[in-house]
């Protein structure tokens, strides 16, 4: 087994820069998830690691070995394709054993390894079938099985679950995590689904327009986003962004917006001392919907005049355990996830409370988080 290292890797297709100066370290046995919007260069990054795409600039290492000029078959990696890419003319057994056969592994050994992997994935009874006779979920497992039997140093997976229905996806998600716990093989996993990223990854790489935005464990990414893109991309519904002014009054700091006037908690100021340097400047405030509450029923934190504001309710979406409120303050719209006990109705003016410790502030120019 081995880790993967990218050093200043750039990929250009003609004028299009698909991946720009990516530097990344994937430690051995890690489950790394690459996430980002469509077209941000995730697949390209993965294909470069696999050796299916040349590298325009930079260096890729698998273990200690620079693999820039190594063909895919000599990189000791296995890839699970987004669309399965099963060999349609071979049955499941041969699909899974193909790579071993090409590597001249003895017949008995192939049978043993295929059976083992099939058992692990619960597809033992399908070994004689052709891909056309399988359901989507089964095909997915065969594609995974084909990777597993090879026992490679690194698994590369390109949105392997995107073709499955919601239920199967959740199930396979858990199974993949279990599989990783068991095999301990390094995995680089591409997805554009941030829930998938948050639930599966030891570490997550957020990419946008070919540039790596942040590399961090899921909770760090959620709690300490480095910039507005990451803050907006991770979390659902997305973080609310409001243009505000950071007002200083003696030792206290306030964010002033349209109809908004919130006092920053001292805990936040201690955690992010950089905020003080932005005194009396225009900044952007970010607050997650789950850190807003209906002042009347809020239980998680103390409500006061210093951390609440009035808003117009535009849409109410009951989700059972909680309610999504689409609100407006002045001409700014936002979303709050409030307690299911909230009595808010469409058209009401209600008081929303804000957990000011969870406020994020961003530089207006650079969109970087203020720390």
């Amino acid at each position: 087994m081995a880790g993967v290292t990218l050093e200043n890797v750039t990929k250009r297709f003609g004028d299009v820069v698909a991946v720009k100066e990516a530097t990344l370290e994937v430690p051995d046995q890690d489950f790394l998830v690459l996430v980002g919007p469509s077209g941000c260069g995730k697949t390209t990054t993965l294909r470069m690691v696999a050796g299916l795409e040349d590298i325009t600039e930079g260096k890729i290492k698998i273990g200690e070995k620079v693999v820039n000029d190594l063909p895919p078959k000599d990189r000791d990696i296995a890839m699970v394709f987004q669309n399965y890419a099963l060999y349609p003319h071979m049955n499941v057994f041969n699909n899974m054993g193909f790579g071993l056969k090409l590597r001249k592994i003895p017949r008995d050994e192939i049978t043993k390894r295929v059976k083992e992997a099939a058992k692990l994935l619960g597809i033992e009874n399908l070994l004689d079938r052709k891909p056309a006779q399988l359901s989507g979920g089964q095909r997915q497992r065969v594609a995974l099985g084909r990777a597993i039997v090879r026992n490679p140093q690194v698994f590369l997976m390109d949105e392997p679950l995107s073709n499955l229905d919601a239920k199967l996806r959740v199930q396979m998600r858990a199974e993949l995590s279990k599989l990783h716990d068991r095999l301990k093989t390094t995995i680089i996993y591409v997805t554009h689904d941030q829930t998938e990223a948050m639930t599966m990854g030891d570490k997550i790489v957020v990419q946008n327009e070919g540039v790596i935005q942040q590399v961090a464990p899921p909770l760090t990414l959620y709690n300490e986003p480095e910039n507005m893109f990451v803050a907006g991309f991770i979390g659902s519904p997305a973080m609310n962004f409001i243009k505000v002014k950071l007002r200083r009054e003696d030792e206290d700091f306030f964010v002033d917006g349209a109809d908004l006037n919130l006092k920053l908690s001292s805990a936040l100021l201690d955690k992010r001392p950089g905020i003080k340097e932005y005194a009396n400047q225009d900044v952007i405030m970010g607050i997650r919907p789950e850190d807003l509450g209906d002042a009347q029923v809020e239980k998680e934190f103390q409500v006061s005049d210093d951390n609440s504001f009035t808003a117009d309710v535009e849409v109410v979406e009951p989700l059972g355990s909680e309610i999504s409120l689409y609100f407006k303050i002045g001409d700014i719209s936002g979303i709050a996830r409030v307690d299911a006990d909230s009595k808010a109705r469409v058209g009401d003016k209600i008081k929303l409370a804000c957990n000011t410790e969870k406020i994020h502030l961003f530089d207006r120019e650079t969109e970087e988080a203020i720390k």
Binding site: A50, G51, L52, P71, P72, K73, I77, A78, M79, F81, Q82, N83, Y84, A85, L86, Y87, P88, H89, F98, G99, L102, R103, K130, P131, A132, Q133, L134, G136, R139, R146, R150, N163
Partner: protein, 284 residues
Amino acid sequence: MESRNLFMRMLMHAVIIIMVLIWVVPTLGILISSIRPASDVLNTGWWTVFKSPLEVTQFTVENYESIIERAGMGTAFRNSVIIASVGTLLPVTTAAFAAFGFSRLNFWGKRFLFGIIIGLIVVPLQMTFIPVLRVYHQVGLSGTFLGVWLAHTAYGLPFAVFMLHNFFSALPRDLFEAAYIDGASLLSVFFRIALPLSVPALASLIIFQFLWVWNDLLVSLIYLGGTRDVAPLTVRLASLVGSYGQDWHLLTAAAFISIVVPVVVFIGLQKYFVRGILAGSVKS
């Protein structure tokens, strides 16, 4: 709506039946004429046998015996098989390699070369006779099977490359990449992935090329000449028409022999026309 559908279906069936008749009736005529004695063929139409179809004595295999022995149809048949089998397999195999290269490899001048090959599809083969024949005379290829195999390969290649290239290019890229990652070399990708998946395309190409070579008269006549020991069926048949212009009973027997093989080839390859060979491979 119902009745309209029914009408359309009946119309379809009627058209198909008419087409089948157009093909079957003359073929049947040839078959029956070929097994009737010469005197009958000259005096009555072949359909008269239906008056008493069970009367076996009115049929004979004499015509076949005489053409195979007297007119050398046996040799001609063997020659045709030799010419058509190699004349089919050689271009199809070559084209498969070439088309795979064009669709899966990147090399300098690829588009230009491919353009030339496509362009050659429209070159009339008559244009090539004189220059090729002169070269053949110099290197001693005229009048040999090798010469005619090479000629058929050259004439068949452009279209075969074009057709297989289209087919290979339409195969999903991920399939090949999966194989490369699995450790396949270019050749094993060709033999274990590309070829098995292109069986329907290969089968239809083989049928086309086989029919073309089997029925070809011109190329054989030009490059083989009329020599009996190398001339294929078509050439013999043509000379039969010349020498026995009136011998319908012999002509029909010879013609029937030449029909049988393509039919057998077609029926034999029919099962390879599988639809949906890629089913289940990739989700699109």
